[in-house]
């Protein structure tokens, strides 16, 4: 048995437990938990049975199993970046609102400095 087929499943199990705890402590939605759990289950599957990737690859018309894994990896990463970008954008908007409100409710007067 190759080293990666031992290490990757261990990492995956730890990751699944981490996501389950996040879900149980209401820090994550059920949909996100299912999505990530599925992803890590696939990592376990492909680590223990590398040939399985070729079956999935052929479903999408890709010849090599490794190519399929790399492409899926790219897609997942792009999706994560897109989500993060949107969240960051929303956070920026929220920060702008707060900073603006604080400024508007505190006009600086000469008395402020003298205090």
């Amino acid at each position: 048995m190759l080293l990666y087929s031992i290490i990757f499943p261990i990492i995956s199990v730890v990751a699944i437990i981490f996501f389950l705890i996040r879900y149980l402590t209401e820090r994550q939605s059920l949909a996100t938990t299912i999505l990530w759990t599925l992803l890590w289950l696939f990592v376990i599957l492909f680590s223990i049975f590398p040939d399985a990737s070729e079956r999935f690859a052929s479903l999408f018309g890709i010849t090599r199993g490794l190519d399929f894994i790399i492409i899926v990896g790219f897609v997942v990463l792009l999706y994560v970046i897109f989500r993060l970008y949107n969240k960051l954008d929303k956070l920026q908007d929220d920060v702008n609102k707060v900073v603006k409100e604080i400024a508007l409710s505190n006009e600086i007067s000469l008395d402020d400095e003298e205090e």
Binding site: Q92, N96, V99, L110
Partner: protein
């Protein structure tokens, strides 16, 4: 006979000045505007130098003419100007102007910029800089931005990136600006146009120094504006 802007008109006008790290340049700008009899809303955009102290010092000289607001962290010219536009409505002025605080705009142009608003010729004014006076890189970036403003916002103006603009209070209430950075220039024009607010272009002078050239719409800013314009289409 051509209309002369009166002291009453100036008293009814508030100039919004967003300021980020302008400690060495802002004082003459503020004092020139105050000397002309205009009121000001100065928004310190989370400056890390002593801009706020310099502004407060000027307020001591003209306490009734200057109102200061300060963003606790730097959020860019777009948010600082929006803050100024929101604050100005507390004072209910007839006319609102916004201009740069780094000295590239001249207070001498204020009368000409508000004149179309006072006479009723227009409800918004865009201060247009002579493109031929600009350094080549800035001139090129501005031409590109004019084309992009025409494509994305469907408005044809000769200087879409100007920071010198004026608007009546009633028209200001109609527009909705959300731009974060230098996109505010194009967005202001889009909002004015989309809301059917009649506007005119008024030529203004621009004073370029190595310091003022370091700010404004350079190639990097142009790319940021372009990305935001594309995003706004969705």
């Amino acid at each position: 006979m051509e209309y002369e802007v009166t002291l009453e008109d100036k008293n009814q006008t508030y100039v919004v000045l967003p300021a980020y790290n302008e400690a060495t340049r802002i004082q003459p700008v503020i004092e020139a505007i105050a000397e002309k009899g205009y009121n000001m809303i100065i928004v310190n955009d989370g400056s890390t130098d002593n801009t706020l102290e310099v502004i407060t010092e000027s307020k001591r000289k003209y306490p009734d003419k200057i109102h200061i607001y300060s963003l606790i962290i730097n959020r860019g010219v777009g948010v600082a100007t929006q803050t100024g536009f929101d604050a100005v409505l507390f004072f209910n002025p007839k006319y609102v102007v916004s201009m740069d605080s780094d000295g590239q705009h001249s207070a001498d142009d204020l009368d000409n910029v508000i004149k179309p608003l006072v006479t009723g010729e227009a409800q918004a004014v865009i201060g247009v800089r002579p493109l031929q006076d600009m350094p080549f890189s800035r001139n090129f970036a501005n031409k590109v931005m004019n084309i992009l403003t025409r494509i994305f916002y469907k408005v044809n103006v000769s200087d879409s990136q100007t920071g010198f603009r004026a608007i009546t209070r009633d028209a200001l209430r109609k527009i909705d600006i959300n731009a974060k950075g230098y996109l505010i220039s194009s967005e202001f024009i889009r909002e004015v146009n989309d809301n059917g607010i009649p506007f005119v272009e008024v030529p203004i002078q621009t004073i370029y120094t190595p310091e003022t050239q370091a700010k404004g719409t350079n190639a990097k800013e142009a790319i940021k504006i372009f990305i935001q314009m594309v995003k706004h289409q969705f």
